[in-house]
Every structure is written in C-alpha cells, then in structure tokens.
Amino acid sequence: MMSSWLDYTINGLIVGNVYALVAVGLALIFGVSRLINFAQGSIYLVGAYIGWVAVVQLHTPLPLTIIIVAAASALVGLIIERFGLRPLQNSVRIAPLLATIGISFVLDQLVMLTFSPNPRALPSQLPDVRFQVGGGTIGPLDLLIAGVGLTSALLLFVFLRYSKLGWAVRATAQDRDAAMQMGVDVNRVNQAVFGIAAALGGVSGLLVGMYYNQIDTAMSLQATLKGVVAEVVGGAGNVPGAVIGSLLLGLVESYGVAVFGTSYRNLFAFLLLVVVLVLRPNGLFASARQGPPEPLTGTFIAPSRPVRIPRWALLVAAAIFAILPFFPVSFYVLQTMINAWLLGMLALSLTLVAGTIGQVSLGHAALLAIGAYTSALLSLTFSAPVGVAIIGGGLMSAALGTALISPSFRLRGHYVSIATLAIGEIVSLVILNWESVTRGPIGISGIPPLSLFGYELVSPTSIYWFSFIVMVVLALLQARLLGSHLGRSFRAIRDDDIAARAYGLSLNRYKSLAFIFGGFAAGISGGIAAHLYSYINHETFNTQQSILALTVVILGGLGNVVGAIVGAVALVGLPEVFRVAAEYRILIYGIVLLLLVRFRPQGLLGTM
C-alpha cells in the first residue's frame, strides 16, 4: 500500500501546483486591489482553449504553446483590468466584485459559443512514459507541471524582490495611498498584476487540460473555486501563503479521494475553506497582529434613495398580473411567469440578506435545494400533503440554512461571499454523496404535483395563481418586516456594524433573524419548484442560479422588495418575450450585470 500512498502524494502535489498557478494570481490581485477576482477561472478556461487551438490546429511545439497561452491570457487580463475594472475605481467596493462575476459569465459564454460546450481532448505533446520513483510513478507531464510551478514561483519572487515594478506592487498592496505618495502609478501596478495573474492562470488551464487530456467549459467555475480556496487558506493577498495553501489543498483532496472516493474531492476542498474561514479568517499563515479581514464598513453597497412607487401603481400592477390568465396568453407565457415568481421568491430572500444586512450571498441556490429536497422527501417518504411538505421545506431551509451560514457571521464583505459560495457547494456535494437520504446522483423522481387541501394544481393557471399569491404574501411580510424596528436594525448593521454593535445590537442574532426569514422564502420557492418539476437532483439548483438571483437583486436595487420582483420579471420575462436563444441568456445576464455595476450600481429602483 506504500506505493499508492506515494502516488496519491505525488498527485496531490501536482494538482496543488496547478492550483498554485491560479491562486498566486488571485493573491496578487487581492493584495493590490482588495478584490477577489471571480473571473480568474475564466482566464484559465480561455488559456486551455487557446492551448487547444495552438496544439490541435496550429501544431505548435510545447514551449511555443506555453508562450502563446501565457501571452494571450495576459492580454485578456489586461483588457479585463482596463475596461472592466479601472472604470470602477472610485465605485463602492461591491462593484468590482460583481464586475468580475459578470466578466466571468461573459468570457465563459463566449468560449462556449465559439467552441461548443462539448468536451475536447487536449493532447499533452509529451511522451507517455512513467518512471518508477520509490514506490510510486511519475510521468513527464508531472515533471513539466512541477517545473512550470517552481519556475513561476521563482520568477515571481525575483520580480517582487528585485524589480522596481515589483517593489511598487508590494508597496501598493500594503498601503495604496502611501504608495501613490511615493510616485507609484497605481494603474500600472494593477495592470502588471492582472497581466501576471492572467498569464499564470492561462498556463494553469493549459496544463490541467493536458493532465486530464480533456477540456470543457465547466472548468472555469471549478478553477475559480479551487483558487479562491487555496488563496484564502494561505491568507488572502499572501503570495507565498497561496502557494502553500494550494499544495495543502492538493494533498487534502488527493488523500480524501484515496480514502473516500472521487466524488468527495470537492467536499474536502470546501470543508477546508470553511474551517479556515471560521478558525483563522486571515489564513493559516497570518500573524496575530493582523486585524480582522476588511475592517472597512459602510461602503460595500451603493447608498441611494429608493425610487418611491405610489401604492396605487403597485396595486394596479398586482391586479394586472393577478388577472393575467384571463387574457388569451399562451401556456408558454404562464410558464415563464411562474418561473419569474419562483425566482422572485429567491430574490426576496437574497435581497433581504444581501441588501438589508449586507451579507452578499453567492450560494443562495443552496437554500432552494434544501427546501426542494425536504419537501420532496416529506411528501414521498412520509406521504405528507404537498402544502405541508412545502412549508416543511421552508422551515428546514430557514433552520439549516441559518445554521450553515452562522459560522460566517463574523466575516465581512468579500469573505461573506466566499463563505456562502463554499457553503452552497458543500450543500450540493452533500446531496450528491449522502445517497441513503438524497438518492445521490440519481436524484429524486416522481415527486407528487402541487396540491392544496387535497386538490391537485395541474392547470398552468392554478399553478400561476398559487405561486403568484405565495410570492405576494412573502413580499408583503418582508415589506412589513423592513418597515419595523427590526428592519432598521438590519440596515444599521449593514451600514456600520461596529457602530451598530456599540449601540448594543447583537450582530449574530440579527443576522440569524434575517437568514431565518430569507431561508424560509427561498425554501418555499425550492419546495414549489420540486413539485412543479417532479424531478430534482444535486445540480438542479446550481451556482448559476445563485448568480442569476444576485443579478436580479442588483437589477432591482439591493434590499428593495419591489425591486426584487421587478428584477425577476425583467430577467426571466424579457428574454422569453424577445425569444432569446437559451445559450445567449447567460451572456446577457453577464452583460446586464456589467452595465448595471458601471452605470447604475444602485439598481433600477434604488437600494433601501
């Protein structure tokens, strides 16, 4: 058995090397601009596909392939910095975060539209031999990856330690204003780190593609997630920490796979992240003198005056939507609107936690999944009436969602987003692996249709009314909540949690209350969806849905109840009305997000 352990160790270190190439770039960018670059995985994806073009179509030799990939990826990085992020320099701090998410959507979709979503083989260009080392084996590609990793680390060290620009990068990372006062051009520094990060990320994508001899568009999100995990484990902004965090992550995953099996790989990655975030939010190697991450408060979300909509206008709009089924609309339109109402419920939930207490969640679809599975299992296993099962789903989402998120209550800003993203992934991975309860990858089929007091709701009209009424009730409750003293306390916490604490507000209690209410709404939405679809699995409620919900909420205006519903109708309804082909939709969401962040960060109806 010794030999296989050595193999797992070698594999862990090789994979860790690949993660390091992504994580080091993230660390450089975070250091200089306090930004988690969620587009890093997309550059990795772009690098892999450029590599495919070079190898398969241009037949370039390996060294040239690497140079082409590094140069082209660096160019993409420079473009992202110049046109995507530099215009947001004086914007609120959530703006660049959202922009990188939008950019990643756009890049991923462009790659998918250009190359189709089908996986492609990326041959490694190296002889396929294995050498015996001790008890394990190692191949030329392993050595190449290790070599690229070590060379990059060395070059980076020399750059940061001995070049003038490298000094400027380090100085900017430590004190941006002071660096400017030394004459450092911060824009050039940003450009440099984005170029370097992108070059490393692109090469990483190329190497991974060769390692598995396969590339596909799903690589992007995975790479971002792994890079972020490694970076945060090593301490955000800490470049050597990112390398060590990556190797550690590679080993933890490799041993986890050795003991439990392949489907557990990611679960270990995200558990490592959550443990580190909870115990040492500054990373494993941070010194005690460092303060808590992101001590800045109040500026994360764009402040604005919400657009006041007269009550009669809301009533008229509600009435029109209520009688919509009486008009000669097609089945298809009703179906679309049902989806809008379900998304509206999720958006209500997200706008409460993100807009009102400032916890910008990137894993909100997990709450849908919890509600959906609970409701489906209650009705299937315990034959609970569907109405009861859905409420059970809402309650379970409220309870479990709040319990899962509670460890991250002491985090702020970007860190909340990372933690929620990880928790979202963990929920999906637990569903995948907990086969005795969730039926694992097979999913749950034959979920009974919606019914109320014994009457099955099968006609689209009745489902439409049902979901519409549920959403309106949730929206009214939420509006009531926000107008109360409790709502004001929520906003106080968002705007300045230190001041709020000084006034005696218990942050954990209020954050819990918000997540309980928000979790309930999202769980109800997931529960209804389960009975509507009659089949769900661990991928039904994915990160893409979380990001869609976030886009909806930003579009409507963070914290704005009416805005959440308007945003849902706009983003689900309009593409249907204009018959936009499905593959262009995500692209449009990404562009909408980018335009919003740039030109109207407070959303259509304004933040509350």
Binding site: A168, R170, A179, Q181, M182, G183, D185, R289
Partner: protein, 246 residues
C-alpha cells in the same frame, strides 16, 4: 541674512472643497514661500488633512487653484505631483509595514532613476538618522512610533524634494522624539527644502515655523508670521492655554 520678500513656491488660492454635500473649505488661500516652514494649525475636523490631500492630488477641490513653482497641480495625478518635487510624510507615518526599513527608505526614491546617487542619499539618511543604521533589515512595522517617524522623514527626503508636506509629524510621539523631530524639520529646511506642515500642537509648531495659518471649520481665521502669532491672545486662548505649557 536675506530678508527680501521670498517668492511663493506653493500657492493655494480660493479653494472650495466638498465631500458630497458637506463643504470642507471656504475660499481657502495659503502661500508657502520658497525656503520657508509654513504651518497650518487647527483642531479636529477643521479641514487640515484635506488641505494636505489637495496638495497631493488625492482630493480635488470644486473651485480654486493649486500652483507649485508657477504651474497648476490640479490636473495632475498624485505620482505626477510627486515627480514635480513634492514629497509627503503622511498622517500616522503610513510606512509599508511588511517591507524592511531599507526598502521603505528606498521606496521614497521611486521616482528617481539615478541608482548611484540614490545609494549615496541612503548613506546620507543614515548620518541624518543614525539610529536607523541598525534597523535597516528590520520590518518597518516592528519599529517604535518615533523610529517610524524617522523612517517616514527619510523616505520623504529620498526623492530629493523641493518641498515636503507633513501631516501631524509629532502626533503620538514621546516628548523626546517630538523635540528630535522638530529639530530634524529645521535641519531639513536649512538644507533648502520648503516645508508645509499640518499640526494640532500649536506651541511646538510655532517654535519652528516661519509663517502659520489657523484653520477653523474650513476657513482661515488667522494668519501671519509665527513670531507674531505666538503672542496673539487668540492663539494663546485657543491653543496655548493650560496643559500645553508643560
């Protein structure tokens, strides 16, 4: 002694500055003559630090002008302003805490490309601030407040500035270091560098300054030579009363 009216090096004229709706400066005008030490006095929230930030281009005024050596600074970025010959000692030092003392001092010469002369200037700094010699490879963040102030001043001098702007250089220092810092400012000034400093500690600042301005909620309420201001009863009441005497 030459007493001919010295020509102005830095002029702030009729500045009106806003943070959102709130006005910070009201028709603020200040002149720093070449070779002089000019001090801006004022309490908290009087707009002192904003004045510094305007000179350095970190904040832009809504109206008015800032000229240095006859040319306006308003359209320039902070790095461009630094290249014109203005160095800064920011409030609370703002050293690069995780870089070594040597690296911090050399960062001050970031705008220069004459490597040999920079190395010579580094040696010069070590004669001016002898204590830093033993500290060169230490993390800047591990130094005491007074030592950090020395590093910040050395760092500012490394760009061979024509003028240094300092934000509360004596804040938070032990009395021993306060005297040392003031002495150093005088030395720097005697070597031909003009100094514009923002201070709360009026009695100390007036010791070394040639001219001073008193800022109150964004307006200059008093100005003149340091000598006359020291005896001005209004200054005495506002700044020099009671505990300062110790």
């Amino acid at each position: 002694m030459m007493m001919s009216a010295p020509e102005p090096l830095l002029t702030l004229s009729d500045l009106n500055t806003f943070y959102g709706q709130a006005q910070v400066h009201f028709d603020l005008s200040i002149t720093v003559a070449r070779g002089h030490i000019v001090c801006l006095l004022g309490g908290n929230a009087s707009g002192k630090s904003t004045t510094m930030k305007i000179i350095l281009g970190l904040v832009k005024p809504r109206s008015g002008d800032v000229t240095f050596d006859g040319a306006s600074l308003l359209g320039l970025t902070t790095p461009q302003i630094v290249r014109r010959g203005i160095a800064s000692v920011p409030e609370a030092r703002r050293l690069f805490a995780d870089m070594s003392v040597r690296e911090n001092i050399l960062m001050g010469a970031f705008v220069r490309n004459d490597r040999d002369a920079v190395a010579q200037d580094l040696d010069k700094m070590l004669t001016l601030f002898p204590k830093l010699g033993q500290r060169l490879s230490q993390r800047a963040g591990s130094l005491s407040g007074g030592e950090q102030q020395m590093v910040a001043m050395a760092r500012a001098l490394m760009s061979r500035p024509r003028m240094i702007v300092m934000d509360e250089p004596t804040m938070g220092l032990s009395p021993l270091y306060v005297d040392r810092v003031l002495e150093l400012i005088r030395t720097i000034n005697q070597e031909g560098v003009s100094v514009f400093m923002v201070e709360q500690n009026a009695s100390l600042a007036l010791e070394i300054a040639h001219e001073a301005y008193v800022l109150q909620t964004g307006k200059i309420v008093l100005s003149g030579s340091a000598r006359t201001l020291k005896d001005d009863p209004r200054i005495r009441d506002a700044y020099l009363g009671g505990s300062e005497a110790a």
